[in-house]
Amino acid sequence: MKTLAVVVTTPPYSHLTISALTYVEAALVAGINVIGVFFYQDGAMHANKDISIASDEYQAIEHWQRLNKEYQLPLHICITAAEKRGIACDSIDNDQVNEAFTVSGLGELVELTTKAARLVQF
């Protein structure tokens, strides 16, 4: 069983994130079981609902949302990394957190790596 876990450490406005998205989508299209994407360090900024990227630029967050919807791709945000970057995760409704993303902890990263045949970092 080809299972893959991905770690993203770059923010949504970084060009480096485009490669991460292209890779993950290629894996999904190829039928790889991408068991989850873990957003760590600056990657946690993806969870911020209030991020606004100029409409003529690459919309990373929209692409992740699309993959989450089309493939039920789990998107995990590291809570500590998010809070450090100004994304309040403690309210029950998670008002500031984009719905496509699940607020998780580093424990989720342990889960993903133990279950995945391959771990790829971006």
Partner: protein, 132 residues
């Protein structure tokens, strides 16, 4: 290209656990602390994790540093708890030390100084790698 799942064909003992490569100096970026947080969580979940220090990452191990002098929380002191978390294997790239004219004087014990080839071989004994 035909795809193959080479791990199944591998005669060698299966590689095991997570290798974390530290490549940044301790204070001017958060990478050292972020890497440490990952290491400790794996240790606390009783998952095998080994630490590798290469390039400027070797600076994280050097003795007599004091983060408090620059108002940084001294996360390097937590390295002395590695044993408590069952983090047993700590590897340093010898060439990286040599390039920086560093002596093998570390603030923790049981550090294995490896040649580049041995460093690569040790990495190969792990199933997954993260680099910070």
């Amino acid at each position: 290209m035909t795809s193959s799942y080479t791990q199944e064909k591998n005669d060698l003992p299966p590689s095991n656990g997570l290798a974390i490569i530290n490549s940044k100096a301790p204070f001017s970026s958060n990478h050292g602390k972020d890497a440490l947080d990952v290491a400790l969580i794996f240790g606390s979940f009783e998952q095998k994790v080994s630490l590798f220090f290469q390039g400027d990452g070797v600076y994280q191990l050097i003795a007599n540093q004091d983060a408090r002098l620059v108002s940084i929380k001294d996360y390097l002191k937590t390295f002395s708890a590695f044993e408590f978390y069952d983090i047993e294997d700590i590897y340093v790239c010898q060439q990286s030390l040599v390039n920086r004219q560093l002596e093998e004087k570390f603030h923790i014990g049981d550090v294995q100084v490896l040649s580049s080839i041995e460093f690569g071989l040790a990495l190969n004994r792990h199933q997954h790698v993260l680099r910070f």
